[in-house]
Amino acid sequence: SQQGEEDPQALSIQEGENATMNCSYKTSINNLQWYRQNSGRGLVHLILIRSNEREKHSGRLRVTLDTSKKSSSLLITASRAADTASYFCATHNRDDKIIFGKGTRLHILP
């Protein structure tokens, strides 16, 4: 079954730098979403981008979607210690399943 695959698996950056995470998927989608998970907690929805959209912003978050390459990126600008978490992309497929990738573990260094 289709699944988003995030890249890199883990990322460590200095506080204040920008963090970029990528997601690739295999088949057609209705939308793509990004979620965040703090250790041992439930996932929290961050942003949704529809298949006919190319870019979306929300605060310090910027998401792009390239349906021709079947890929998306999540950019977090001016990172903070509190951004340390795992980030997952989720594809809403045409069969109405919402499938998550393996996640990127982001660590912000003080």
Binding site: N31, Q33, G42, D95, D96, I98, F100, G101
Partner: protein, 112 residues
Amino acid sequence: EPEVTQTPSHQVTQMGQEVILRCVPISNHLYFYWYRQILGQKVEFLVSFYNNEISEKSEIFDDQFSVERPDGSNFTLKIRSTKLEDSAMYFCASSQTDEKLFFGSGTQLSVL
């Protein structure tokens, strides 16, 4: 702010026993989901539920699994005969429009 509530937060059971994981979705939501996550790794889709029936399920969701919405507020996942490999964090989620999902805090299931 409304939230999805899951109980218990931890469940320990013996292999072969039945477990029921409970969830109270957000009250005006119409779509309900169960996912599981093993050891902080990938989040695996189990099942989606809409209009009082299963709308989609994964290969993981075999005959040992069942879901119910018994009273219009609770949403339960039953595992009939647990196996060691069922040990995972189980997340319930709900949605108003089958897009943005709201997750509970999860039930950590340990099968011994």
